[in-house]
């Protein structure tokens, strides 16, 4: 095949993914949407009846909801990492992953943004969290890490959406060529009159570079801010200086795992094996291994700090974390996040897509459990022994957690059928 044919082939391959959906797809979409509707139903029930329908209690005021928030923000991170950071470093394998990763970022952030709302005792007063001028002259408390969160997450969402969209513009223009009728008009509208002139490309590349540069520090800053929700507190087990890098590494770790989880089936179902190769997976696996090592190191350091401090509160919290009521969770976390990824030192396993898929599922679970362990065990045993208590998630919390996956996959499945799943222009560029 000569070059023009090849280019056309790419377009057709990628866009063929947007063909009429099959039964399997519809079933998956139906399942996800049902889960999401369950979330809405349960949330309504919780608002109507009171937060008490969740298992959170005194002293464990944060539970699965905040765990989910941190988890989904974490998932979002590697999307940005893969598309923006790797773009800046000109890592070529990025092209195969960046579109799904960016989509994942946007959707994960949408899901993540839902959880602070769900966990509010009075959701209907959420606008108190935004600074807006009134005669009352009431402002938000800029000392509160939660306000930093509001700004961090909304900034991140805005930047991610813009970045995602800008990346899509040339592909919209390509899709426009292949479509008819209303769809053509819609793709046309979103392509913003893209014609692919040299001048447009010049400006476009500048913008893309700028956005990539803008998004990159967000990878570090947003999750640092999220980690400060905990680190800025006084609670033993939370109040640690290493939280920011620890959380950022964790976020990239979990996000990379989620990318694998999503891309492996996508590659298979949409028959994109030609564009997403084992080499690509090996590179991603290396990132996974590297971040796993950082996370493991952080675990060790946390315990070391507690032990070295001699502070009885800290020491008890970490003893409890490893050996207390939640010991099973703790060891699941250690196994999934620290031990299992060590197998990636073996090259053949790194290149084994099936193995990577299974491993990524473990890591997903492990990272969710990690957040749970950090949040719950620290709150369950803080200063006053009289007020010690435990926490068990309620059925509502479990349902809402599943529903959040429902929302995520609903959005992701819709993405698969409506937008070009790989960056056509970039693949062409690298042909």
């Amino acid at each position: 095949m000569d070059k023009p044919d090849k280019l056309a082939q790419v377009e057709q391959d990628v866009l063929s993914a947007m063909k009429k959906p099959g039964l399997g797809y519809l079933a998956a979409l139906g399942c996800s949407a049902t889960l999401f509707l369950t979330l809405l139903g349960l949330w309504g029930y919780q608002i109507h009846t009171g937060m008490g329908v969740a298992g959170i209690t005194h002293p464990v005021g944060w539970g699965v909801y905040i765990t989910n928030f941190v988890f989904w923000v974490g998932i979002a991170h590697s999307g940005t990492l893969i598309s923006a950071v790797l773009y800046l470093f000109r890592a070529r394998f990025r092209t195969s992953f960046n579109r799904p990763a960016e989509a994942m970022t946007v959707f994960a952030l949408l899901v993540a943004g839902l959880f602070p709302l769900i966990h509010l005792g009075r959701t209907w007063k959420f606008y108190y969290l935004f600074p807006y001028p009134t005669q009352r002259m009431l402002w938000v408390n800029f000392r509160s890490p939660l306000i930093w969160d509001v700004f961090a997450v909304s900034t991140y969402l805005t930047v991610s959406v813009v970045f995602f969209y800008v990346g899509l513009i040339p592909d919209f223009a390509i899709a426009r060529r292949y479509k008819e009728g209303l769809a053509k008009r819609i793709y046309g509208f979103f392509s913003l009159g893209w014609t692919g002139t040299r001048r447009q490309w010049k400006n476009y590349n500048q913008l893309y570079l700028f956005l990539a540069a803008f998004a990159t520090p967000l990878v570090a800053s947003v999750h640092s801010v999220v980690s400060w929700d905990f680190a800025m507190s006084i609670i033993p087990g939370w109040h640690t200086t290493i939280f920011a890098p620890y959380f950022v590494a964790g976020a990239i770790f979990s996000g990379t795992a989620m990318v694998i989880t999503l891309v492996v089936p996508m590659r298979k179902i949409l028959a994109l094996g030609r564009y997403i190769t084992d080499d690509h997976f090996e590179s991603i696996a290396k990132i996974l291994l590297f971040t796993s090592l950082i996370v493991t190191y952080s675990y060790v350091v946390e315990f070391g700090l507690a032990w070295y401090s001699g502070n009885p509160f800290e020491m008890e919290t970490f003893r409890y974390r490893a050996l207390g009521d939640y010991t099973v969770m703790f060891w699941i976390m250690i196994f999934c996040n620290s031990l299992a990824p060590l197998t990636l030192f073996v090259r053949s396993l790194r290149r084994n897509v099936k193995y990577l898929f299974v491993l990524s599922l473990f890591v997903n679970v492990g990272m969710w459990v990690e957040r749970f362990v950090i949040i719950v065990t620290s709150l369950a045993r803080d200063f006053d022994p009289y007020a010690w208590g435990t926490y068990t998630p309620s059925i509502v919390e479990v349902g809402i957690t599943l529903g959040s996956f429902g929302l995520f996959f609903t959005a992701y499945l819709l993405f698969l059928k409506t937008l070009p799943v790989l960056s056509i222009t970039e693949i062409k560029e690298h042909l």
């Binding site: 009846t49 009171g50 937060m51 008490g52 298992g55 959170i56 209690t57 005194h58 002293p59 005021g61 944060w62 602070p116 966990h119 509010l120 005792g121 009075r122 959701t123 007063k125 959420f126 108190y128 969290l129 009431l138 402002w139 938000v140 408390n141 000392r143 509160s144 890490p145 939660l146 306000i147 509001v150 929700d229 800025m232 507190s233 006084i234 609670i235 009885p312 509160f313 008890e316 709150l379 803080d382 200063f383 006053d384 022994p385 009289y386 007020a387 010690w388 208590g389």
Partner: protein, 938 residues
């Protein structure tokens, strides 16, 4: 018009209507009443009227706080001879009895199918008068049984019985203290409980008497004890076979083998006789008859280590004013009378009669009957002798052992008429229920201690179609004579008071709420002959309960079970176990281990053919083989009656325990019985956590211009009685959430008593409330400034700004913030209890103690009227007001003259988790209870 509507209108007529400053569009609360409100009542302002608590026989003076005509809080009357401003947990909760949703609202008659049906008062009273006549004609006896009754009501009952030919039976009280009364009758010819002047003693030995929680007049004793402790040169040793709140508060607590208290007292009596302080002698026969125990012997028999016994006898013999009080659990077994007699003899020999033991002002238990009397009554009832049986304010069906078959016997009366307010076991058996007004709805007086008359004055018109007992009796008398009531009870009382105290005295009674008559000193002498004879006939030992033994102890929260139905009392946990809802059986750790039971594991307790399933609570400080349950936790236990005194034994002997392996769902609110070495209550064994880190704050310092509110809590005085907790609930509209939420740890109390068990078996109580930190961790994390620091040093929570992130609660090292997990509703008419100065918090909102900011606001309002600052002592929190020991002091830390300033600057003042740098405004005064290192205390 229904009576209730009528009353409502009456309220509006007299201007005492709800007139809240807010009101919604729907409530028609902006009303032009027909008449102006009564003198001195200003809508929107709280006002107080005197009354007397009727929740237990102690008769504490009440100051009823009212708003727009509705009582919203009960407080003790400062200067009252009984309680002097303090009020116990049950007294605080008495308000929930008034507004109890399940009160009997009208006279009820049992109809043909055994169900109750509301009837009119006229019909009910005429039925009673007909039955009275009918029974008399049929040769049956009409009987009147009541709970302990004093004051004018007792006279009226006598008159009633005399006029209508009704036989008045001895009053029935579960805790009749008859062994002590019997002993005093035997030794001194005074069959009653004397008044103990604990405040003047320099050494106190209590044997079994639960003086802080349930014994005779607990608030009175608590205040006296505090006065003695504050004085400084006071030691208190308590000996008991089980574990009580009183025991853990003594300077030293001895665990005695059950039933061996007499050995201890006999040993002590001999020590006193031999070594002084002897003011009176004993007849020779008595001295000879007194059993001799060497230290080792006594130690072996009682289980108290020999060196401790020696120390104890040293203390008693060296003291100038030693006082020995025996009672409660230790006088309620087979050797109970011996214990009481020996205690009385020690009192006599040490010369404290008269003096510390005052028979002039005895506690008026002379007319109280015993279980023996009840046996007789039961027998008479079963023979069908009874015509009309009146049962007033008493619940024998619940309290008497199953063997009495009282339930069945009550049914054998021709007509049983019960007076009461809640449907208890006895009332349910009656044929006719005549609903009693609450003491806050009635006129009356009580004389809980001879010479002390306390006023009962209505604070509101009756909520329901009820009458006070006095009115009921007068109307009955009228109905029988056919003339109609001669006067109302109010007029009757006024006449009585004028007769007894004169016009001036009556006015003083109405104004102050009490009158204390001066009484001549009563000199009693020991009846040596009887004493010697008694000692000769009996031995100090033998007949002790066989192990394992189940002790049925009176309960701080329900007394003899009569306060069980009050919702607030189940919400506030038992201070020793921190169990709120449910029943349990306490067992020592050793015994639990031997039995192999887990904490909260259900077990079947049985004795003979009686058995009951109870969860086990492992309780440090208990003797091995001793199980303890609340008196009201067990249903109809097969208690025996002690023949000589008529006192019921509170022991079940030789019980069997069968564990079930099932862990019961009972809420234990404490996360850990131990401090985990964290120095909440500093102890020499703890690492010193009190040092400051001297950290610089990133935030600017708060400035306080006029006030910085602070609190000092003296842990040496705090006895864990939890009155403050109940007071806080009522003052601050804290919701009662129930067992389900308690099991999840979602109790809402703003103030809690944390018991911490030490290794030495000691228990220290730490009242934990919002510490109003100067550098508060909760404030910085609130995204919306719902938690913020106000210029007066309060850590304010603005409820309607809160969005409910719960971050503040997470970040609070003291975990004193409470989240509203649900919409909390007050069942009508309990919502009348709402303090309108506070919002009822919505679901999803965090709430917490703010040092009763509404009281501060009111005080500042008053001060502003006079253009001055709030004076020290002018404003106090609900907890401090209620505290019977006076352990809590509230005030302005900027005022160097204030009491709280002085206390906060004592060397033994410390703050919890000072090392965290939160800089709290609550100062705790540490130090062992009554330890020698105590410093002066105002």
């Amino acid at each position: 018009m229904k009576r209730r509507d009528f009353l409502r209108v009456l309220g509006i007529l007299s201007g005492s209507t709800l007139l809240s400053s807010c009101g919604s569009r729907k409530t028609k609360d902006f009303v032009s009443s027909v008449l102006p409100p009564e003198e001195g009542v200003i809508p929107g302002e709280a006002y107080f009227s005197p009354s007397t608590c009727a929740e237990c026989p102690a008769g504490c003076g009440l100051s009823v706080k009212r708003r727009e005509g509705w009582p919203i809080k009960l407080e003790g009357v400062p200067g009252h001879p009984i309680n002097d401003g303090g009020l116990c947990i049950r007294g605080q909760s008495s308000l929930t009895r008034l507004y109890h949703p399940k009160r009997v609202e009208a006279p009820m008659l049992r109809n043909g199918d055994g169900k109750f049906q509301a009837v009119s008062w006229e019909k009910a009273l005429s039925l009673v008068s007909e039955s009275l006549a009918g029974s008399r004609d049929a040769g049956r006896k009409n009987l009147f049984l009541s709970g302990r009754t004093t004051g004018s009501l007792s006279l009226l009952i006598d008159a009633f019985c005399g006029k209508l030919g009704v036989e008045r039976l001895p009053e029935f009280e579960v805790y009749s203290h008859s062994a002590v009364a019997e002993a005093n009758g035997l030794l001194f010819g005074e069959r009653d409980i004397p008044h103990y002047r604990i405040e003047n003693a320099d050494f106190l030995l209590t044997v079994g008497a639960d003086i802080l929680a349930t014994h005779v007049s607990p608030v009175s004793y608590t205040r006296k004890l505090s006065r003695a402790r504050i004085r400084g040169d006071f030691r208190w040793i308590h000996a008991e076979p089980h574990l009580s709140l009183t025991g853990v508060n003594a300077d030293r607590r001895f665990v005695v083998f059950p039933g061996r208290e007499a050995v201890l007292l006999a040993y002590l009596l001999r020590q006193v006789l031999e070594r002084g302080p002897r003011r009176h002698g004993l007849p020779r026969e008595a001295v000879n008859a007194l059993p001799r125990f060497s230290v080792e012997n006594a130690s072996e028999k009682t289980g108290i280590p020999a060196e401790e016994l020696a120390e104890l006898s040293n203390r008693v013999t060296k003291a100038r004013f030693p006082l020995v009080i025996a009672g409660g659990i230790s006088t309620s077994h087979r050797r109970g009378l011996e214990v009481a007699v020996l205690a009385g003899m020690i009192q006599w020999v040490t010369g404290q009669i008269p003096g510390l033991v005052d028979f002039a002002r005895n506690e008026k238990y002379g007319g109280t009957g015993t279980f023996r009397d009840m046996e007789a009554l039961s027998a008479r009832l079963s023979r069908g002798e009874a015509g009309v049986l009146f049962l007033s304010r008493t619940n024998p069906v619940f309290s008497l052992p199953a063997g009495f078959a009282f339930r069945e016997n009550v049914r054998k009366a021709k007509l049983s008429v019960a007076f009461g307010d809640l449907l208890d076991e006895t009332i349910k058996e009656a044929d006719l229920i005549l609903p009693l007004s609450h003491s806050l709805e009635s006129w009356g007086d009580v004389e809980p201690r001879r010479g002390v008359v306390s006023l009962v004055k209505p604070a509101l018109a009756s909520l329901h179609d009820t009458l006070s007992e006095g009115d009921m009796l007068l109307r009955l008398m009228g109905a029988v004579s056919g003339e109609g009531p001669a006067t109302g009870y109010r007029e009757y009382l006024f006449a009585e008071w004028t007769k007894r105290f004169g016009e001036k005295g009556k006015d003083a009674l109405l104004r102050d709420g009490f009158v204390e008559e001066s009484l001549p000193e009563k000199r009693v002498t020991l009846n040596g002959g009887k004493a010697s004879a008694f000692l000769k006939e009996t031995a100090a030992e033998g007949g002790e309960p066989k192990a394992p033994v189940l002790v049925l102890a009176p309960s701080l929260r329900t007394f003899d079970g009569r306060s069980r139905g009050l919702p607030l009392l189940s919400e506030v946990p038992d201070p020793l176990t921190t169990i709120s809802y449910g029943r349990w059986l306490s067992v020592s750790p050793g015994t639990a281990k031997a039995l192999g039971v887990k904490d909260r594991e259900e077990a079947t307790v049985s004795s003979g053919d009686w058995s009951q399933v109870l969860p086990m609570k492992i309780q440090p400080g208990l003797a091995e083989g001793v199980f303890v349950a609340g008196r009201d936790f067990v249903d109809s236990p097969p208690l025996r009656t002690e023949e000589r005194t008529g006192e019921a034994t509170w022991y079940l002997e030789g019980i069997r325990i069968e564990k079930s392996g099932k862990v019961a769902a009972i809420p234990v609110l404490s996360g850990s019985p131990s401090q985990q070495g964290r120095g909440l209550i500093p102890d020499p064994s703890h690492k010193d956590e009190r040092h400051h880190h001297g950290k610089e704050s990133l935030y600017p310092e708060h400035e306080h211009k006029e006030y910085r509110w602070a609190m000092a809590i003296d842990l040496a005085l705090c006895n864990g009685c939890s009155a403050c907790v109940a007071a806080c609930y009522i003052e601050n509209n804290v919701p009662v959430v129930g067992k389900k939420d308690h099991l999840k740890g979602r109790e809402m109390s703003w103030l809690r008593i944390e018991p911490f068990y030490g290794e030495a078996g000691n228990v220290d109580f730490l009242p934990m409330l919002c510490q109003q930190c100067h550098s508060a961790p909760c404030e910085t994390v609130c995204p919306v400034y719902a938690a913020y620091h106000n210029p007066e040093g309060l850590n304010v929570q603005v409820y309607n700004r809160c969005v409910g992130t719960r971050y503040c609660s997470n970040n609070c090292p003291y975990k004193v913030r409470r989240f509203n997990w649900f919409w909390h509703l007050w069942k009508k008419p309990l919502d009348r209890m709402h303090n309108p100065d506070l919002e009822v918090r919505a679901a999803g909102v965090m709430e917490k103690c703010t040092f009763c900011v509404q009281r501060i606001r009111a005080a500042k309002d008053r001060a502003k009227d006079d253009s001055r600052k709030v004076r020290d002592g002018e404003v106090t929190t609900a907890c401090a007001q209620s505290c019977p020991t006076g352990a809590i002091t509230f005030g302005n830390l900027l005022d160097t003259e204030s009491k709280v300033y002085r206390l906060a600057h004592l060397t033994r003042a410390y703050r919890v988790f000072e090392g965290l740098g939160t800089n709290p405004s609550v100062y705790y005064l540490g130090g062992a209870k009554g330890g020698p290192e105590r410093e002066g205390h105002g």
